[in-house]
Symmetry: C2
């Protein structure tokens, strides 16, 4: 699968090589490739191209940019390139401008994922992976026995299925699928508690497991 990863922060730099290891053809998009290549933290051997080219001919576009600049980055990628593609949004609309704890730039009655979907009605937006840190995204076994829960939300069944397959390839086994992208509101509003937990636990290597009566009482 041809995957375009938008963003060269910790999330993009973690997702891109993980997708390569799974056998996918990966390109990473950035605003200014020359500037990114000069960064000390850019050590990946993955094609690096401008946002304006990265989504061309991609089957899956992954928004791994900072949530506050996601809409700008996607607009550089362009509506034409995004038409018809599955757009996996892993970003969180966190605003750290007033310090800690961060606040959310969108919430409750809307979400970043829905903002993206409205801006690019031709894309098939799926929200997933935003509820854990980058290391856990690509290696669920970092936490416990790997049996924690991953959420996935999207309006398009085929797009959800494609992302669910990718999640399973990354090692996710307990995937809860919401058939409405608006469930991304709750997935993004999980972040304030996640941030407090990171402070309290002193690690980002944690996740939630949704425990249901049914599962646990079965023999």
């Amino acid at each position: 699968m041809r995957i375009a990863v938008l963003g060269t922060g910790a999330v993009g730099r973690t997702l891109a090589p993980a997708f390569v290891r799974l056998g996918h053809e990966v390109r990473v998009g950035t605003r200014d490739p020359a500037a990114t290549r000069e960064r000390e933290d850019w050590t990946l051997d993955v094609p690096l191209v401008p946002y304006g080219e990265v989504a061309d001919a991609a089957e899956l576009v992954v928004n791994a940019t900072n949530g506050q600049v996601s809409l700008d980055a996607l607009s550089e990628a362009g509506a034409d390139a995004l038409a018809g593609v599955v757009l996996l949004d892993v970003a969180n609309p966190l605003d750290f401008s007033a310090g800690f704890p961060p606040t959310l730039t969108v919430k409750d009655t809307d979400s970043l994922a829905e903002q993206i979907q409205r801006a690019y009605p031709g894309a098939r937006v799926v929200k997933a992976l935003n509820t854990v840190n980058a290391g856990v995204m690509v290696d669920p076994k970092r936490v416990g026995d790997g049996g924690t829960t991953m959420f996935l939300a999207g309006d398009d069944a085929e797009a959800r299925a494609l992302v669910a397959e990718l999640l399973r390839a990354l090692g996710w086994r307990d995937i809860i699928e919401f058939e409405q992208l608006s469930a991304a509101r709750g997935m993004e509003m999980w972040l304030p508690l996640w941030v407090r937990l990171m402070g309290q636990l002193g690690t980002a290597d944690f996740n939630l497991r949704i425990v249901r009566r049914e599962i646990e009482t079965s023999p």
Copy 2:
């Protein structure tokens, strides 16, 4: 311990008898006791008194009212009665007026728990139990093996300790304690995801377990 439970909805009607079973002296507050006694769903053998009397001489006041009327109910209980007491807020600021899914009346930069704390600076507010449904609050074993996670937040260490003891008596073993009441923001913003999960799982008998690397890799 003398406990005043404010509210005769499902939460108040579940918490009050659970506290009685633990040996506490419990009174339930309601706006109009005569009207409550006429309700078919009021079957408890627990003293029922007006909000204006319920908190008098209580050591612990539990806000189990609907989040949208909590401040009104507490104002009837009165600032004098609330001064110095530990005020356990289990309510959620959910607004169902526009149908499903509900929205939050306060969020992100503030919380219901903090609104209550500001309105009654003499009270020692602790947020807990709001992240699960009433049945699970008093019986963590309804979910899996009972080892799911309960959060607790409050600025006052003594008040947190008193509530933590009560939670342990109810059967909660994995309690994560936040030393700032503002962590209630994240605990309340968990509800939108909780509501979606209830719809998806078809049950309210679920909860999250926070899985940390440390716990699972220890021998």
